[in-house]
Symmetry: C2
Subunit: 105 residues, 2 copies
């Protein structure tokens, strides 16, 4: 079972969970209330998110608070970097084209 962050964000429910806990930590029950599926299903998603280190837990009494480890999200950003370079250079090419068209005029 090789879990990586790209697989983690493939599921729409997991993406919603990530967004939900991005700003404040929440318990599994509180998270599950936002979805149609059972608490156990949400719990399974949290397990997957924990496995690929996107989420961390903090125990408080019998409650467990799950929080997003936001630095991990940067890995996606890092992968996108290669494409950002390309789309920016294309934008520049377009920009140059516009400039040269204006000069002609």
């Amino acid at each position: 079972m090789r879990r990586d962050i790209f697989q983690a964000i493939a599921d729409p429910t997991r993406r919603a969970i990530i967004t939900l806990i991005a700003l404040q930590a929440m318990t599994p029950n509180a998270i599950a209330e936002h979805f149609d599926s059972t608490r156990q299903a949400v719990s399974k998603h949290l397990r997957i998110l924990t496995e690929c280190e996107l989420v961390q837990q903090e125990q408080k009494g019998r409650e467990i608070y799950y929080q997003l480890k936001i630095e991990k999200m940067k890995e996606i950003d890092k992968w996108l970097e290669q494409f950002r370079t390309i789309w920016e250079s294309r934008f520049n090419q377009l920009d140059n084209l516009i400039v040269s068209l204006k000069k002609k005029k």
Copy 2:
């Protein structure tokens, strides 16, 4: 079959294909040469990538060139935006902390 870009990039082979054709269009055969799996498997990946509009085809004689539609990649970037705001504000909080510590000194 709900295909979205997040599911498309979940598979490591598909991510590799995306990177491979980012700079120049390639035929299915040429792409398949870079991987262990069969041409048909690669062809299936290309179909999925085409379905979610990450890739476009250009027929040249009997060959079909597949090219990345790089603008589509921006959708991922767009989703990341919400988290970028958070991680930047956290960085600023840290920055403010450092500044106030220096003032104290």
